[in-house]
Subunit: 263 residues, 3 copies
């Protein structure tokens, strides 16, 4: 039997907002340690990894490990029916073919039960190696979202460069060009408003803006985003889920030779 | 001559919002007692009844009873031009072919006159018998609207069951099922936030969600909605118009035999 | 070399909002006195004139007069990337083929550079003669916008009449007619909420509502609008740009004979 009760039910709503655009169907791997999900987007270009640790739940019981195959759009439809203040409980019987989402208002006046059918989904677990990155930038998530959106009106790709001074985003298109420089800033009153650069060596990589735009659907999850960059490695874009998990996105950089061939 | 001056002009704007989706054209029956309207929706499935008592108007003069045939979408277009604070006066001459809506800002700086053409509309007055219902539920109108909207993402019909504990809404669909239980709650601070169950015998009836969704366009009219249910009778969904009237919707339940045939 | 630094960068964003619907491409004429633009809309019915005086800029340097041909939609796309609080600097090299927009957040943390390609645009400068108008009305710009929008739901043209008492807007259409009277009002607390009539002789002119609707895209620029009317002359609809400029729209009245022919 599996049962997990989350007082901050809204975090689960935001997790779905953050993932359903990229992933249509996925297996949630449930164990005593928590809930994990890892999936490529439907075009097999980017990867999403979700982790929710069991200690973040008010109550978490998982008698044996299992995979919960779900259509994320249908799951999102049901979670949209939970109120912002609702406590959400996820329940599944061993060997059952449904998962139940229970939504309770804080005063227990309204109790809703939504039952979603499980699916058989073949998934490959990709095993992402832990790496040390050349540059790690932590910046306000709203700022990152805005830059990605703005540059998307100018071009299709963005060049991201990190130097000691800051992180620079550049795009080119038919109507002209744009570059946006965010300077290191450790003096903002709130930690989440700071821009922090941790750099071993300068990096300069190019990415498709449309995938970054999908990643920024996670902006509501956290006021800060962490971006990790290394030459020839996929960028990692990470949003914390409160203090008990994360949503991470991976996207391979565009290789210059490929680009030249394409032109 | 007919002239009716409504200081809370916004209530008239909300009445149109609440009715124009279901009814395209209708006769407003005007008498010294007030304004009445009764009409089937265009698919002849649900019925809308509106009552505005003359004592709710600052000034109400009606020399002789008459029918005012109006296109509700056009009337709504004109009422949308009234400000939220505007005083609205409705005027019609005996035997004229137009009705005039006069909008005055509280300080009289802007005075607008909108003249709408009258129409000849054949209407049957249906005479709704007064009945005692098995169950009457009074609940927050926003809560009802939300449940109807949420269940509409799951299925096409809703089963509404009333017991002593509360009112339960259930729906089924391709992706799964949902049921929402609202418990009796007489302790909310504001009366309008209470959920009150008045039940002679338990009832369990099934309705088409799309009509209920149209009924909830009246949510802005009142913070509370009253739902009256009896076996084999149309449900009544009622919203008060301030303290001088109401909008009531009637919808026949789905009969199980019919449903089974349909399957 | 041309360089102009505007602390209230948002005013430039609003100027583009106010003009890009009517004008697709135009020459910004730059001189030591400031920036001017004058262009007919694409259907050659209305005229837009923009003036931004150099003294409104924190820094303004223009070594020699020149024309800056720009696509206003592309310029607007770039200015939309400036934040509300951003300082905007416009820069162009002599003989260059681009203009650069520099956006700086007040704390200098984010600095963005957008480079837009210049265009060769043939423009005729039309020379608008200064005239004394029969009637000048100053009214809240939001009120004017609202009336234009409301009457647009009733008809295609508006008759504007000014008398000593106020300004009256009338429209007719298939569903009925409307007229809105705004009375002179010199007692409003804030000057911008006053409606002031300055009249030498009564006027009554008819205009196409769709152009007036485009003019009201300038509403965000200023809380007040000034409307100048004379028989057989184009109406002038003017919005101030802070205390250093204006956007003015000109639209010829419909001539009654023409209208009769048209029917």
């Amino acid at each position: 039997m599996f049962e997990a009760r989350l007082v901050q039910g809204i975090m689960l709503k935001k997790v779905l907002e953050a993932t359903k655009e990229l992933i249509q169907e996925a297996n949630f791997e449930v164990s005593a340690a928590g809930i994990n999900l890892q999936a490529m987007d439907s075009s097999h270009v980017s990867l999403v990894a979700l982790n929710l640790r069991s200690d973040g739940f008010e109550h978490f019981r998982c008698d044996r490990n299992f995979s919960m195959g779900l259509n994320l759009n249908n799951m999102d439809k049901m979670l949209k029916c939970a109120g912002k203040e609702d406590v959400i409980t996820i329940k599944a019987e061993d060997g059952g073919d449904t998962v139940t989402f229970l939504f309770e208002t804080p005063n227990q006046e309204r109790v809703s039960e939504f039952e979603l059918k499980l699916m058989d989904i073949t998934s490959e677990n990709l095993g992402i190696p832990e790496t040390e990155y050349s540059a790690t930038v932590r910046m306000p998530s709203g700022e990152f979202q805005r830059i990605v959106k703005d540059l998307g009106t100018i071009g299709d790709t963005v060049e991201i460069g990190v130097s000691k001074d800051g992180i620079k985003f550049s795009a080119n298109g038919d109507i002209g060009s744009a570059n946006v420089m965010c300077r290191q800033n450790t003096h903002a009153d709130k930690e989440d408003e700071q821009t922090l650069i941790d750099m071993n060596e300068p990096v300069n990589l190019t990415f498709a803006l449309r995938y970054l735009a999908s990643f920024t659907k996670a902006t509501a999850l956290s006021p800060a985003v962490t971006i990790k960059l290394s030459k020839e490695l996929p960028v990692v874009v990470e949003y914390k889920v409160a203090d008990f998990g994360f949503v991470r996105y991976y996207l391979a950089p565009k290789i210059e030779d490929e680009e030249m061939e394409g032109e």
